[in-house]
């Protein structure tokens, strides 16, 4: 799956640590997030097996994965591990435990404004549907776009084998949360569309993520999101934004003037991997799942 960006593939392969995992940069110890993206980019190759062999034993007793062996705490990137296990057909006890953890790991509900707040302020400090909690970056915190997107994709891949109404409800809640946080310009940022009476702009990388989370959706809001993504694309983004926009636009079947992501020795491993995932024959199809 080297595709049109063999430089990125060579750099990525050279980054694999002896333990099978990947760091964010060359020579760094292995972390879950870069290892997961690298594994997806290496889908179907033996190097993916080595990455999964590092990742597997890291799982915590409660079902989640830590972000790093040095930080033994449940991480948002557990969703990426679940996605990979689904793609490999590993619907085992470890997968079931992880999905159970993710389903029970809803974000904290931000308290509704008090009567005093309502008296003093024309609108909430942060405008959002507080019932749509999404998923947090860290357990127990508020929900944000990116961890919600990854949770939705992981649960969507798990749905055929895990079953149950709770999982389906969680996917629906996550998708509605993503739609609710859409910025006025049609895209997404990290998850605040309006704060203290001002509309916030979208970011290209988060707009791409919003569309990835909604890759099975159609409708006017998604169309606005795609239009915004194409607007971001026309401004020639680089790095992570470019890599994720390519994935998102391909998932939605949108024609665009593609160009490979420029990479170098200092490019973050996640960007290297996502650059490869977004190639025409890259693993974006597997990430989307179903009939791409």
């Amino acid at each position: 799956m080297g595709g049109r960006n063999p430089g990125a593939m060579d750099l990525l392969l050279a980054r694999q640590n002896a333990d099978g995992g990947f760091g964010f940069r060359a020579g760094q110890s292995s972390w879950l997030e870069p290892t997961a993206w690298a594994a997806l980019a290496l889908y179907g190759r033996p190097e993916m097996d080595r990455a999964m062999a590092w990742l597997g034993p890291m799982q915590l007793a409660g079902g989640a994965w830590p972000a790093s062996p040095n930080a033994q705490r449940e991480s948002w990137a557990t969703s990426l591990a679940i996605l990979l296990k689904c793609l490999r057909g590993e619907f085992d006890a470890s997968w079931r435990k992880a999905v159970g953890w993710l389903i029970s790991g809803e974000a904290r509900r931000i308290p509704d404004p008090s009567w005093l707040d309502r008296l003093l302020h024309k609108e909430d400090a942060v405008v959002q549907d507080r019932s749509l909690r999404g998923w947090p970056w860290t357990p127990g915190a508020a929900g944000w776009i990116e961890p919600t997107v990854h949770a939705v994709r992981a649960l969507d891949h798990s749905r055929p084998r895990y079953g149950g109404a709770a999982l389906a409800e969680k996917i629906e809640m996550g998708e509605r949360m993503i739609l609710d946080r859409q910025c006025r310009d049609g895209g997404w940022n990290y998850g605040n569309k309006r704060v203290l009476g001002e509309d916030l702009d979208s970011f290209p990388e988060c707009t791409a993520l919003g569309l990835i989370g909604l890759c099975r959706h159609r409708g006017p809001q998604v169309e606005r999101g795609i239009a915004c993504a194409l607007g971001h694309w026309s401004r020639a983004p680089r790095g992570l934004a470019q890599a994720l926009l390519r994935v998102a636009l391909r998932m939605h079947g949108v024609a665009f003037a593609d160009r490979p992501v420029e990479v170098s020795g200092r490019t973050d491993t996640t960007v290297l991997a996502l650059a490869l995932i977004g190639e025409p024959e890259g693993a974006w199809r597997q990430w989307k799942g179903g009939a791409a």
């Binding site: 040095n70 705490r73 127990g140």
Partner: protein, 317 residues
């Protein structure tokens, strides 16, 4: 100011007055240097060197990590520590005998730190930026403390390896904290790879409490040099308006530096909660700050404050 804003302001002022703590005595006067600097065009390194020496900041033989404020980039405003300013500090510290100077930042909103640094002009303005820069969001980590119910606080190893950290904030007002200066700038030391974008646990733990917690951890080896040449007023730290303040502020005691910056912005530091909460780390009271260079009251410019923060305004004279 409309009726709602007037009521909000009145209640906030009343609350702040109730919560205001009496300034505590501090064992010595902390030196803070205030320097006039009209633009980024002039030769800054020499001036910064003078400020560093006058503020009693020792760098000889030290491995230094500069911590600028890189948040988001917009050509329309002044969000980030200016890259020319970062380069000038680097040059000044190397000329004073620093063994090594690196630059590290972990932005709170943008995932792609390198691209943000590129957009902000760091590659152009800072010699060998690529070799010197560390993405603190993705560094290896060590546990350095606790955030109460939110669990352990991990920190980038590069910070622990540095002998001296230099916080290089932008002089800005802040919509959740009132002001963002050398202590609030330490939010960028919290690794996003663990805590996310934004680093939401810091908000849940409490913004002021997090500012103090991070200052408690890093203050013993952290000094500050503030980019106040062009600051930001109003709805900072991102959506505010640029404000030409024409100052650089330097000092080894973070609360003393931040209090001086508040005075320059027309803010009463005694009403800023995180300064009231950090009296065990340094003084906000002018009686315990030894001002060098320009006097803050002569360079004071009243930065625009959001209505909810208007109670922070210092009385004139």
């Amino acid at each position: 100011m409309n009726r709602r804003e007037w009521m909000a302001c009145g209640l906030a002022a009343a609350g702040a007055a109730c919560a205001q703590r009496r300034p505590q005595p501090w064992p010595r006067k902390e030196p803070v240097f205030v320097l006039k600097a009209e633009s980024y065009e002039r030769e800054l390194a020499g001036e910064i060197r003078r400020a560093v020496e006058a503020a009693g900041i020792a760098v000889l033989g030290k491995k230094v990590l500069l911590k600028p404020n890189l948040v988001e980039f917009s050509r329309a405003t002044a969000i980030n520590t200016h890259p020319v300013f970062i380069a000038a500090v680097m040059e000044a510290l190397l000329s004073l005998g620093a063994a090594d100077v690196r630059i590290g930042e972990g932005p709170g909103h943008r995932r792609d730190t390198w691209t943000l640094a590129e957009e902000a002009g760091c590659f152009e303005a800072i010699p060998r930026f690529e070799d010197r820069f560390i993405d603190l969001n993705r560094d290896d980590v060590e546990r350095v403390g606790e955030l109460g119910e939110w669990g352990p606080l991990w920190a980038p190893r590069s910070l622990l390896a540095a002998d001296l950290i230099v916080s290089l904030p932008k002089l800005k007002t802040h919509h959740w904290a009132g002001a963002t200066l050398s202590m609030k700038n330490l939010f960028g030391t919290v690794p996003g790879s663990l805590y996310g974008w934004p680093k939401n646990v810091l908000h849940h733990y409490g913004i002021d409490a997090s500012i103090v917690k991070l200052a408690e951890i890093w203050a013993p080896k952290t000094v500050a040099i503030v980019d106040g040449i062009v600051g930001m007023e109003g709805n900072g730290p991102i959506q505010g308006k640029p404000r030409k303040a024409g100052v650089i502020v330097a000092g080894a005691n973070l609360p003393a530096v931040d209090a001086t910056c508040c005075r320059l912005m027309g803010i009463d530091p005694g009403r800023v909660n995180f300064l009231a909460m950090s009296q065990h780390l340094g003084p906000a009271d002018a009686a315990w700050i030894e001002q060098h260079g320009e006097r803050p009251e002569t360079l004071r410019q009243d930065f625009e404050l959001m209505p909810m923060w208007s109670f922070l305004r210092a009385p004139k004279g």
